[in-house]
Amino acid sequence: MVVRVQTAPFDAGKELALITEGNFNIGGVCSFIGLVRDITPSGKINAMTLEHYPGMTEKALQKIECEAHDRWPLESTLILHRYGKLYPGDQIVFVAATSSHRHAAFEACHFLIDWLKTQAPFWKLEDSPSGGRWVEARARDDKAAERWGHGPNQKPNLT
């Protein structure tokens, strides 16, 4: 299990090599990279700034990985997330899951990103031509996370 929160970009090929190296039981590696788009649901953006909660972020990401290992027979997992100022085309997040069989790898990888989106304490501030704008959480992401069953964390809100 690997969790890293960093400002620097990552080398997907190198990271995948690290989580598979020497493990000849791995038959499949599924990975997902999230990138900054230049058009978002609220319009054109020049850049975005990702804020996070140091300390809690790492814990939340580790929990998501543990949950994935509980649910699927995985050999290794990886979550890398960037913060700070990012531009269109930049990588934001990289998740991966390895397993002896491909379906477990696909499902676990999909789960990692779906839960990360609703559980990990990151916030996006879009820098648009009309000024800064905090991205709002999307019902679609909640739905995607709910597919995997009840989340332990963020769901109970304050009302």
Partner: protein, 83 residues
């Protein structure tokens, strides 16, 4: 009590962290929000719509009735939007 604010909650309150002398009667998250809301307009505005604020106590997601104690770290922030 160590209080942390993130994203637009931080912007509304005007700071990212503070060490607050929370009075004795404040025993859970709900009490804490009520107390903070009475400290000034910036707090009142930040907590005006409770449904849009998430809370973590010692870096774990919390609810209105989650207890808070003297040395806890309590964070307030909008629903998360990473990934």
């Amino acid at each position: 009590m160590r209080l942390l604010y993130f994203a637009w909650v931080r912007e509304k309150i005007g700071m990212s962290r503070e060490d607050a002398n929370v009075p004795d009667g404040v025993s859970n998250v709900g009490d804490l929000i009520d107390w903070l809301s009475g400290r000034g307009r910036e707090y009142e505005e930040a907590f005006a719509n409770k449904a849009s604020v998430r809370v973590a106590v010692n870096q774990e997601y919390a609810k209105m009735d989650t207890p808070v104690k003297l040395n806890d770290e309590v964070a307030f922030f909008p629903p998360v939007t990473g990934g």
